[in-house]
């Protein structure tokens, strides 16, 4: 992303000035606002976070800011840790202020007789169904058609790391060079949750853990630096 073009930095409370003819933003404009932007009563778009304004053509805008605390947003896919089991639902910790509830029936192929085999402390990759500030969040492990589609328990020997939210978003951009260079050295299965949690599974536990530690440290380094770190990683793995 070698941008020498103008980079817009917004502080909370500033209005978004759109470049072309959309000087006065009418509510009829089809704008997709991502995190950090909000429409106020007058119809203008106001920034609520401090950060760099990003744009994806034609009309998607959001603000890249640093944050570690997760605020649930409907539709996002997050990694949860099962905190408690009750009669008909799991209490899952997704990093928000409240534990999310996950019904036993919200799994693919689950019926009243056929219960999911999750224990306290297991990891689940879920999708937020209900997320607003007045209610406790609710997550599910199926999509609207009833298929799992990658959601569900994250089993096997893996390792979980906790990072910041924008690092996870960076990992999820298509063609992320970090993931590409990591997988060249240590092929692994990576699951990225939007709540700042990343789960890795490699051939053995130890390479997974080392790769995870490396990812954690590459939060602030550029891709080129990471290549040299990867060299250390291969040496590490060779020793063990």
């Amino acid at each position: 992303m070698a941008e020498t073009a103008n980079v817009v930095v917004l502080m909370p409370g500033e209005t978004l000035q759109l470049p072309n003819s959309e000087a006065s933003l009418t509510p009829a404009q089809e704008l997709v606002l991502g995190p950090g932007l909000r429409r106020d009563d007058g119809g203008t778009v106001v920034a609520t976070k401090a950060g760099v304004l990003r744009r994806r053509d034609p009309n998607v805008y959001w603000i890249d800011s640093h944050q570690k605390r997760y605020v649930p947003v409907r539709g996002e896919m997050v990694i949860g840790i099962v905190a408690a089991k009750s009669v008909d639902l799991f209490k899952v910790d997704i990093g928000s202020s409240e534990h999310a509830s996950l019904s036993y029936l919200a799994f693919e192929g689950a019926t009243k007789r056929n219960r999911p085999n999750l224990q306290v402390g297991d990891l689940v990759f879920t999708r937020l169904l209900v997320a607003n500030k007045d209610m406790e969040p609710e997550v599910v492990c199926v999509d609207s058609a009833g298929r799992a589609n990658g959601l569900g328990q994250l089993s096997g020997d893996g390792f979980l790391i906790h990072t910041s939210l924008e690092f996870c978003r960076r990992l999820l951009t298509p063609g992320c060079p970090l993931i590409a260079s990591l997988s060249a050295v240590c092929p692994c299965e990576i699951t990225v949750g939007m709540n700042g949690r990343v789960w890795l599974r490699a051939k053995a536990l130890w390479p997974a853990a080392v790769a995870a530690a490396l990812l954690e440290r590459s939060n602030c380094i550029e891709t080129e630096q990471m290549k040299s770190q990867l060299q250390n990683l291969t040496d590490c793995l060779a020793n063990f």
Binding site: T4, V7, V82, L123, D157, L160, A209, A213, E222, F240
Partner: protein
């Protein structure tokens, strides 16, 4: 707030790694994390970083009466605070079990071992002794707060300087910092602790566990020693059963570690003394490493701040001119002067602020009735229960309500006519039944004040 639960995969990983004698951060079994000690500009302030665990210690002293059982010994007081700043699992206020255990350990390790000489803290036997108080705050919890706290406490006590006192017969002279250089405490030895975490039923151990390792461990052994290989305290918790030779081995390891740590503390103290002598800047801002994110190549980004500049100009243009204040000072009498005309207080007034101790008068001239009325309107918007800072009413004279937070004993009510008769602050109460008197009454209630928008 609840702590994030520990997932099974993290627990399994740590147990597996420990079995194979590996650690996630690449340390060996007996390795400590990097220790960084920084001192503040004030004597007795110390920040210790053990990896990502950060702890701040501050030592202070004051003269108190000694304990009746020990009339010629000073008092040492230790307090370790675990606030939610360190970890979301800590609760503010109520001390958790862990906090109580740590506090007790600190006392045993530092006070019972007589590391600081308390006899030298006595000024007048039976009447006045120094109480040296060490407050330790955990700033970030990444495992092993105890070790970091003990290092910080020792370093802070060694760094601290108390005011000098001389006793000549019955006469006691306490010198201020400007008169005589403050005097360091007498420290006999430095007891430092080493924490061992046990796994797999005591068959594996780790020194200086991180947060993740602490959550998984089965038991903990804490060995407090000084560099002369004298054991100061020993604490095993977690319900783990240890063999005799295990404990002995741990104490051998601890003696080596304590030696290294003592050296680090001594070096940090010497550096600080050197820096102060040379007049270099010392203090936390200088000694803590600048946390910078450096990248090999940085992309230049031009930030467009024209919009901000334009808006700033607009604001400046629209802003009102600052009012011309005449510097006229009217002398009303001895100890009483008036500057300005006593307009309405346009600052936001706090409930607890003792009202105008600096201002000598609260006279409201007759001509400022309008100003007062504005205040009244504001007041009306607040609910009845809320605190009213300035209420102007026509009341019977002699009605004076004292504000709770004020340090003054009496509130003077001055009127325009009687300003000449005021003799001194706090000595006279004006009684005036004139209608023109605006009595300013300051009230405080306990309920929070709603601010009018």
């Amino acid at each position: 707030m609840k702590e994030t639960p520990l997932s099974n995969c993290e627990r399994d990983f740590v147990l597996l790694a420990v079995r194979e004698k590996k650690r996630l951060d690449g340390r060996q079994t007996y390795d400590y994390r990097k220790v960084r000690i920084a001192f503040g500009t004030e004597y007795g302030c110390c920040v210790v970083e053990l990896g990502k665990t950060r702890v701040l210690a501050q030592v202070s002293c004051e003269l108190v009466s000694p304990k009746p059982s020990r009339p010629s010994e000073g008092v040492l007081f230790f307090n370790l605070e675990l606030s939610p700043m360190a970890s979301p699992g800590f609760e503010q206020g109520r001390q958790s079990e862990m906090a109580i255990e740590m506090n007790r350990l600190l006392e045993r390790c530092l006070r019972s071992s007589r590391s600081v000489d308390t006899e030298s803290l006595c000024v007048i036997s039976g009447e006045k002794v120094w109480q040296v108080r060490t407050d330790i705050h955990a700033l970030n919890h990444d495992g092993n707060i105890m070790d970091a706290a003990v290092i910080a406490a020792n370093a802070a006590l060694a760094h601290f300087r108390r005011p000098d006192v001389t006793v000549q017969g019955e006469e006691v002279t306490l010198y201020s910092v400007e008169d005589r250089d403050p005097v360091p405490l007498t420290i006999h030895h430095m007891p430092l602790t080493t924490t061992f975490a046990f796994f797999h039923e005591g068959s594996r151990l780790l020194v200086d566990p991180t947060r993740l390792e602490e959550r998984v461990m089965e038991g903990r052994l804490l060995v407090a020693m000084n560099k002369h290989r004298e054991l100061c305290a020993l604490q095993a918790s977690g319900g783990i059963r240890l063999l005799q030779d295990q404990v002995l081995r741990c104490s051998h390891v601890a003696s080596v570690k304590v030696l290294e740590l003592t050296e680090i503390i001594q070096r940090a103290l010497e550096n600080d003394v050197q820096a102060r002598k040379e007049g270099r800047c010392c203090g936390l801002a200088e000694s803590l490493p600048v946390q910078r994110v450096t990248v090999a190549c940085a992309h230049d980004a031009v930030v467009n701040n024209e919009e901000a500049r334009r808006r700033a100009d607009e604001v400046v243009k629209c802003a009102e001119e600052p009012a011309d204040t005449e510097g006229a000072v009217y002398h009303r009498g001895p100890h009483t002067a008036q500057v300005g005309e006593g307009l309405v207080n346009s600052w936001v007034v706090d409930d607890n602020e003792p009202k105008s101790e600096e201002e000598q008068e609260e006279a409201m001239d007759d001509g400022d009735l309008e100003g007062v009325k504005v205040e009244n309107e504001e007041v009306e918007e607040l609910s009845d229960d809320s605190v009213v800072i300035l209420e102007t009413q026509h009341r019977a004279p002699n009605v004076v309500q004292l504000s709770d937070g004020s340090e003054e004993d009496e509130v003077i009510i001055l009127s325009g006519k009687d300003l000449m008769n005021v003799s001194s602050k706090g000595c006279t109460k004006e009684t005036n039944s004139s209608d023109d008197v605006m009595e300013v009454i300051i009230t405080e209630t306990k309920k929070p004040r709603k601010r009018s928008k």
